[in-house]
Amino acid sequence: MRRHRFDPIAFVFGAAFIAVSATLASSHFAFPVLRLRWLGALFLLAFGVALLITSTRRGRDRKP
């Protein structure tokens, strides 16, 4: 594997999957803080920021 520039989209989804697996794997997932509204909103926020970063990069790379 070769090292490349940081990929925020892969990072956001990876972190979200780890959080979901750790949360839902427990037998009593009664975490008052980790609720769908918060998780979903925070995920969308992180995903939007990641898209902003990648789109800015892409736009910058395509400049002649």
């Binding site: 979200a16 697996s21 902003l52 790379d61």
Partner: protein, 457 residues
Amino acid sequence: MTDERRDETPAESSEADTAPATADPQAAPSQTPAAAAPPRRLVRRRDGKILGGVCTGVAAYFGVDPVLVRVGFVLAAVLGGGSGLLVYIVMWLVMPMAPEGEPLPPPAHTDWFDSSSAWRWTAIGLIILAVVLLSHNIWHFHASLFWGLVLLGVGVALWSREFHGHNGNGRSTPTPPPPRPPATGPIVNPPPIPLANPPPAAPTEPISGGATTHVARSTPPAPIPSPAARPPSVLGRLVVGAAALAVGIAVLLDNLGTVHARPRGVIALVLFIVGLGLIVGAWWGRARWLIVPGAVLALLLAGVGVLPTHVRGGAGNVDWTPATLTDLRTQYQHGAGNAVLDLTNLTFDAQPRRVRVDLAFGNLTVLVPENVPVFARASVRGGKLDLFGRENNGFGYVTDERREDGDPKIGLLTLRTDLGFGNTEIRRGRPGDAARYVSSDHVRVDIGPGRVRVNTP
């Protein structure tokens, strides 16, 4: 002969009449646009497809990453009540499959700000959506806060545009143009460039008189750089292999009696490995395709946790209205749909009674007479719980219990409800209040002495 050519291909003949022997290559794109770009069609595509090629086709049509289209379909399927899945199936049936080897069309998005504007506006929309969702969680929400955040996001986007040199005066270092081809030789069509604006083709046929025209190549059109071919990454295979190993070891240990591998735990283990692979892929290797199986596993994991396993029953809306205490059952179960248990028609006596209601999906409403002492314990695995006016909501195993006093001469009614995904409301009511909760398509079940009457709409 010249007239015949003029009739068949007016653009080409016009060029033949007007173009000099040393044609200006910079002018060629505007003269023969149709020869360069393939026709834009919304078709399914085989290259990179996972299921039917719908997402890759839509992504190629709009010039975006197929991963985003797939994520959009998954989100629409989850948040839109399955609409994303339905739309996918319809598009799968309607969209034809592109023939093999058909080049990708050029991006079609409008140049609002620059070539990456579609991504940028998508990102802004997601951030706004997130802010709206977050705003519902703020105790004292002010509209000015929301609009302030919106303006802040727009400002950041505009600032980012300027900072990165949209007008050529930013601080970012521009990418140097690629090297130009050799200065001699006939002009030929450049090879098709995937996911980029292909340069228009230069004429390859003799312009006039059948003689091959050699033009000066001192100023050819600058080719648009194609994305560099990435070497295949082994990260995806490593993740799949690690997941298979983990599942195999878990099953082996389960067979040996060392551990008890529950389905939820196994799925969570695989999802954890997929997430770990994506985290690694943020710096080393490339395995973005893991997002799709990861999303499926997350939904599966949530479904395994949400669904009550003991519920039996059909689908549709149902209304339980026992008329007498002898009609009152100890357990009511239903699969999916809205269910109303109306106890307001009953005259309770001194005998304590227990009633349990289980529903997998839908909204559950229980109406209790005002004079009956009640001890209610309700659980919702995903959704809202309203227990005599006290609300809880969220995702997880939300449980609440409450005791409501009543006539001391009446026995205690112990009420237990369990709902998978939906909303539960338990409240006091009077005869007739159930009409507010029963829609026209409810199946009304009246159980009386010696009769069971089912009224269908």
